[in-house]
Symmetry: C2
DNA sequence: GGTGCAATTGCAACTATTTGCATTAAGGAT
DNA sequence: ATCCTTAATGCAAATAGTTGCAATTGCACC
């Protein structure tokens, strides 16, 4: 069973109604293989369905994020980017001076995730985190 | 010397021009003692200076953030919040289901910060990080 | 204390994202 | 297959934040 279908079926089990719009957003996002903006999803979506709307895309992405099927990141590019969890795991180190984005191994977060869970009962999303700071070039 | 003056003097040393608008934003932010939105800063600012503008506040906050004097956080409240580093250190665990915000000790990040620095030469801002996930109540 | 020039400002227009509301349609029950 | 409830949609308007540009002003140099 494809990743898309797993997401769709789980959403249905959780009480969400499955509309053609939602299926298309999930399909585009799951097959993008990279970070993608809401507007890019909307553009691709319009090739497949006549009448649809950017706010539907945003609302669907909200659901996917809230339900843990998508990650949402600010990479200092002016627009929020989305991906499924098939993209990853890794973290993005975003320089707040030059906006460079360095991909890093997310294993450095594993111990921290475990500690947050045991101390606070909080299940942190750490598979695709953005962390701001100053890159090596800008420090020098 | 007050915290405000340290910030202002350092900005001047780094080549930024010190305008009354910037001094007021720094003063409001440093004395807020909490997270504060750009609009709240603007409202307080208008009581002190006749003509000024919200985009000046945003631009000043950008400078303060880029130069490492302010932190900027998305706490799922609809608006970005700012604070000086006197507020903190701690992290915010933000539940993506119920929007609850749990304050947590930032020491859980110390080892990670060190590893990121040694592995990638990246100086991560970890004094006042927001981490999304699912809170204990929503997990149950 | 003037002068020059680039950085900063106010303003207006713009982009990104969210929201209220009337209409449509998913899917459980019959 | 049809009916019913209410979640989801499209659309338009609102909100949050950014940007281009002409006018202003900080401050380095004299
Ligand atoms: Mn990524
Ligand atoms: Mn805080
Ligand atoms: Zn950099
Ligand atoms: Zn929660």
């Amino acid at each position: 069973m494809s990743h898309c279908n797993t997401i769709i079926d789980t959403l249905r089990q959780r009480g969400y109604r499955i509309t053609p719009q939602r299926e298309i957003v999930v399909d585009i996002l799951a097959h993008a293989g990279r970070h993608i903006t809401a507007e890019e999803i909307f553009d691709q979506m319009q090739k497949r369905i006549r009448v649809t709307n950017l706010s539907t895309v945003y609302r669907t992405l909200d659901v996917l994020w809230e339900e843990g099927f998508a990650c949402r990141n600010d990479l200092s590019e002016g627009k929020t980017v989305y991906a499924t969890h098939q993209h990853g795991p890794h973290i993005h180190l975003v320089c707040r001076r030059c906006d460079a984005v360095l991909d890093a191994n997310s294993q450095v977060l594993d111990a921290m995730g475990e500690e947050i869970r045991s101390r606070y009962g909080f299940d942190a999303d750490l598979q695709h985190l953005s962390i701001f700071g100053i890159c090596a070039d800008c420090s020098a």
